[in-house]
Amino acid sequence: MAGTARQREGGGIAYLFILPAVLVFTLFYLWPALNTILSSLFTWSILAPWQLADPETWRFAGLDNYAEVLTDGRFWNAAFNTAIWLVLFPILATLLSMVLAIGVWEVGRAARAFRTVLVLPMTVSLTAAGVLWVLVFNPDFGVLPAALGVFGLDGATIDLGPLHLRLSDWLSNPGTLELGFATVNLVNLSAIMPAIWALTGFGVISFTAGLTAISPELIEAARVEGANRFQVARHVIVPQLRAATIIVAVVFVIYALRTFDVVWVTTQGGPGTDSEVVAILLWREALAFFDSPSAGQATAIAVLLSAVMVIGAYPYLRSLLREAPE
């Protein structure tokens, strides 16, 4: 009987269940993460790394790596491009997936077919999504230049106040938007587009789940009061989707902040550094040249990026922890 009581409490046996996870997690997550934080305080390169056990490799830099990163124009350029992602991607992708999910839900007939088309890209890797859209942008046989050509707009330039749009060279220079304090390179949009294509499906699925949870009586009551389809959507359906909206937006923000794959295969951060985001800069600082001594700066960028993410997503993290199993 004593044995049973001990088992119910867990005791020694719990550690056997948790041991493999603790081992793998400590060796291949916790230690590298801690190493990143420590490494950001040293000067080192991938070929001549800083090593905890070998004091000869220690070239202590204090906070120099952070100072260097934060005074580097290239970092702020990358931060600005990431900010463009952070503003445009979650807003466009969340709005679009909400509108499409409500639309699909409203039509009833053929809803399955529409939803399938919109959701399927979700399983496509961002790498492949980028490859597909590079083909769409291709100046010789891409659909976009050809479609614009039908209207005589391929290669046209449009100047609307601060907006200078060039309807060509989608992956190098499709124009700029002058904000006064900074210039938005519209080439970033060419990398954002495939991400919207690939990830909208996630939003559509999430909003569809939210929609099925709305009680039909609520909508029926609004209809009886004479509200039309648009009014019902705006005043009844959208407010009911609040929880789903928050989760979809948070997931999209997390994605936007760490975006790498799709930029890597579409613009590679170029031309120059016009679409270089923080994740690309970090990779290049450490890994483009293995003997580059700026690996310390790359780890400093990784720490800054993670800090922004943890602080920004802290409420979401707390909501996840609240769901902890009893």
């Binding site: 948790i18 919109l118 659909v143 050809a146 989760i247 760490r258 994740a279 990026l305 922890l321």
Partner: protein
């Protein structure tokens, strides 16, 4: 009358919107199919010109052999199969401990694991390279695969514990207590009661982890040499070479898209259910 009301109520513009976006969403798919299955010379004026269109598998043969994507696809399969298996095995054991057992350090460990769902992978990326050299994972035949599988397992554990844990928590306590009265130990309860009952949840997690690992670019690009690199890296390298080989790249992209897509279509219900347990509640 109702027909007119319906028309004015605006169902038609919803259809119009959905049709426009469905076409937009299908354009990249049509593009990649046409580019992959037709000779490159034929589509120079646009793949939508179907006059004299011919069908070829040469691009797939070229992608598999000359562009060496065949060996990359095999690498992807090895990495993905072992990573998913390891994550499910290690993660389900841990999830059981979190759901049904008490042990010291439980709260801290749970917090750390769940944090990995938010903290970007970049926080572990750079030191992993020298770490792989120290552990002997940087070169060899199977060593780099082992290292990669362990990294994917560590990175997937947070999701594994969160998702599989929520399914295990759904197994009625009465059932496991009945098992205890029959004298089953925790291993017996885990393997004979919890695992079979939480199987749908485990399948959901396995599919999501499969898609995640198979689609990874950043870890593969950073940690693996050309002999062990996954398909995504092979495609990204072809793409950045800036050569006129859209036909081969398209064929390669289709190879990369197909396995997760097939899994998604075949096990759609599990996939969607998994997404909702994982943060979308």
């Amino acid at each position: 009358m109702t027909g007119v009301r319906r028309f004015l109520g605006g169902i038609w513009w919803i259809y119009a919107l959905l049709i426009v976006f469905s076409i937009l969403w299908l354009i990249p798919v049509m593009t990649v199919l046409m580019t992959a299955f037709r000779p490159l010379g034929e589509i120079r004026d646009g793949w939508w010109n179907l006059g004299g269109a011919s069908f070829t598998l040469d691009n797939f043969i070229g992608a598999w052999t000359e562009a060496d994507l065949g060996s990359k696809a095999i690498n992807s399969a090895i990495i993905t199969a072992f990573s998913v298996a390891a994550t499910v095995a290690v993660g389900s054991l841990a999830a059981y401990a979190f759901v049904r057992l008490r042990f010291s350090g439980r709260g801290l460990l749970y917090f750390l694991l769940i944090s990995t769902m938010i903290v970007p992978v970049q926080i572990i990326l750079i030191p992993l390279l020298p770490w792989f050299r120290t552990l002997g994972f940087a070169e060899g035949t199977w060593q780099p695969f082992l290292g990669m599988v362990l990294v994917h397992t560590a990175f997937g554990l947070g999701w594994a514990v969160f998702m599989m844990g929520s399914f295990m928590a759904g197994v009625p306590k009465e059932l496991t207590e009945a098992g205890q009265i029959d004298g089953a130990g925790h291993w017996g309860i885990f393997s004979r009661i919890i695992l079979p009952l939480a199987l749908p949840g485990i399948v959901s997690f396995a599919i999501i982890d499969f898609v995640f690992v198979w689609n990874d670019l950043l870890l593969g690009l950073t940690l693996l040499d050309a002999d062990h690199a996954p398909l995504t890296v092979g495609i990204a390298n072809l793409q950045s070479a800036h050569l006129a080989q859209q036909d081969v790249i398209s064929a390669g992209a289709l190879l990369a898209i197909l396995p997760p897509l097939v899994l998604f279509v075949a096990l759609n219900r599990y996939y969607v259910r998994g997404l909702f347990s994982g943060g979308v509640k």
